[in-house]
């Protein structure tokens, strides 16, 4: 065992805040970093100390490995927590951290290297006798055509170093294969500095099911109830829920045990997630990849289990053993949790990112409503980073109540003038298919007609017009008031202001 006293959080936005909050609860010092563009961003106020690390461009700040390690040493940190994104799955950085005598709050770097390569991680899963999706590597274009033909179109091209849909392409026709591989390679290069891509069978009734797990350094493992993350746009999740409405408890247990097996085979410790594709028609699951980091959607698991995953990451990094058994964990699970990702994107305009200043910002509050946010009134949605404003998580005794709570909470989430996907999310939580738990990864495209551009008649037209006129009046009145007030400036009677 070793004691961590001060942690540098090498991230920004909601995840930096979420990590720092737990550090405070543990009595551990939190050191923040920020780019030039983040000088006034929300996360720095949660740090005990914060350091400027470079230009807005991520490469020159949040991806600047040397600079971050320098800051960690200068600030006398004994550990680095990478959050998700940026350097979180960079095994070179993880090694560099340890070579500099700092603790890496995450899995072993060699394990990260092996799992980070998707092709390699498939081999690890196969070694553990866990099924992987049919597919293979791309040696040359002819072989790629051969493999794609054998699997049958549509097929998927995926980045070997990838994640989050970056570098992923769906190909419907062999004539598009070459161009798609090219684009995917470029995207992969841009996002992960590694152009390797591979081909996978595309499953029609596919469900994205994933298992959060924990492994300590003594071989004790815990798997949590599955999260279903099938509601996606641009191959990126926007809604996650746990438990899944798709699979039964027996399958959940089977997949959970498979996850632990894969992680152990890979020599993993810390928190991680194994992603699976579940073919509902065939009732089969396939290993997809391991996310060797804390995930965006980890709060869903926290809400139904009562654990603090970041605190447990710290425990494991401090070489403490896990304290509860799988059976104890299973029995304490209760209720249903859902997460909505609040992206600054215009859902009615092909999810075009909506850049700019948030002038009006009001978060929902209440029992069982959790908002993990990196923004407040006056924050700028910046071009340089992910347009995730916040994660809205609800917990309720059952799925029906959770969906209603989510719908009410989304209605109470007021953001302007930046556009967000809240209107789309509200439509989803009112959609019969979603409410019935009958959705797969193609949900959004299948029901696009119901979900987008659905302007209903308003119930509040009179009220809205009255309010518009009232505000006009008030504005006018305020000017009159301010004017008369300025004639007798109570506050400034002493008038000693020096410019």
């Amino acid at each position: 065992m070793r004691k961590i006293k001060k942690v540098l959080v090498a991230n920004r936005g909601e995840i930096a805040i979420r990590i720092m909050k737990t550090l405070k609860l543990l009595g551990i010092g939190a050191v923040g970093v920020y780019s030039e563009a983040d000088k006034l961003s929300k996360h720095i106020s949660y740090a005990d100390e914060a350091y400027h690390i470079g230009e807005p461009e991520a490469l020159k700040s949040y991806l600047n490995m040397e600079r971050i390690i320098d800051v960690a040493k200068k600030a006398n940190c004994d550990a680095i927590h990478p959050g998700y994104g940026f350097l979180a799955e960079n095994h070179i950085f993880a090694k560099m951290v340890e070579d500099n005598g700092l603790i890496w709050v995450g899995p072993p770097h060699d394990c990260m290297r092996n799992l980070g390569d998707k092709i390699n991680s498939r081999i690890i899963a196969q070694k553990a006798n866990i099924p992987t999706t049919p597919g293979g590597t791309i040696e040359d274009l002819d072989k790629a055509h051969e493999l794609a033909d054998k699997l049958g179109y549509p097929i998927l091209i995926k980045a070997s170093a990838g994640g989050g849909g970056k570098g992923m392409r769906i190909v419907h026709d062999s004539k598009d294969l070459e161009e798609s591989i090219k684009i995917a390679r470029k995207e992969a290069q841009a996002a992960f500095s590694d152009p390797t891509v591979y081909i996978e069978k595309y499953i029609e009734d596919a469900h994205h099911i994933e298992i959060q797990f924990l492994l300590d350094k003594f071989g004790n493992g815990l798997y949590f109830p599955e999260r279903e993350c099938s509601v996606q746009r641009r191959y990126q999740k926007i809604i996650e829920e746990s438990p899944s409405p798709t699979i039964d408890r027996h399958t959940a247990q089977e997949i959970g045990q498979a996850a632990i097996l894969i992680a152990k085979t890979a020599g993993y410790y810390s928190a991680g997630t194994v992603e699976f594709i579940y073919d509902k028609k065939e009732k089969k699951y396939y290993f997809l990849e391991v996310n060797a980091r804390i995930q965006v959607e980890h709060p869903v698991t926290e809400e139904i289990s009562g654990v603090d995953l970041v605190a447990l990451q710290i425990d494991i990094a401090e070489e403490k053993p896990l304290e509860i058994s799988q059976n104890e964990l299973n029995l304490r699970i209760n209720g249903h949790a859902i997460e909505s990702r609040i992206y600054a994107e215009d859902p009615d305009n092909n999810f075009m990112p909506s850049i700019g200043k948030i002038e009006h910002y009001r978060e929902p509050t209440g029992n069982g409503i959790r908002v993990d946010s990196g923004f407040f009134k006056g924050s700028e949605v910046l071009i340089h980073y992910d347009p995730l404003i916040a994660k809205l998580i609800v917990k309720a005794p059952n799925r029906t109540m959770a969906i209603r709570k989510m719908y009410a909470a989304l209605s109470d989430y007021h953001i302007a003038p930046v556009k967000t996907i809240i209107p789309l999310l509200k439509n989803i939580f009112q959609h019969e298919k979603f409410v019935n738990g009958d959705y797969n990864t193609r949900f959004i495209e299948t029901y696009a007609a119901d979900l987008f551009n659905t302007k209903k008649d308003s119930k509040y037209v009179s009220e809205a017009i009255v309010m518009f006129n009232y505000l006009k009046h008030k504005k006018h009145q305020a000017e009159v008031d301010e004017y008369s007030q300025s004639l007798q400036p109570y506050w400034d009677t002493i008038g000693y202001w020096r410019g």
Partner: protein
Amino acid sequence: MEKLQVNGNIVEYEISSKENEFTITLNAEKNTYSVFAYGDEYLLFNAEENKFQVLDVYRDKNKVFLWAGDEELLVEEEQEDISAENVELSENIIKSPMPGIIKEIKFEEGDMVKKGNTIIVLESMKVLNELKSSIDGVIKKIHVSVNAQVGPLELLVEIDGGE
């Protein structure tokens, strides 16, 4: 009669007020609301029907965003619809659909292009977006270079349709 756009629809109404009491006639229906500050929001009370509604508001110049119940509404002063004249233009030009960085320009000025050809690859928030030509034609002018950072709706490429 006065006019406003509510959620893009033009609405005609009559309104009169006395202190914080507003009487509105809309679709031949007359209602009176009292407006009160209510936390950071407003409460509209319709005494006759014993109905109340809480509204959160944000005013952006001559637009007002409102949140009422489970709805978000946009109320604007009536505006000329200027989109019509842009429709034709949009055929011949490629604008940036969002801010980003030009990662690749696939043609040069003078090149012939076909409808559907990818002309520009724009990276925004780590995703590559292919911007395609919507007509057959010849590249007339390229306004940007690779690695340039562009704002939203910036003119990137002009294509001569040959008419």
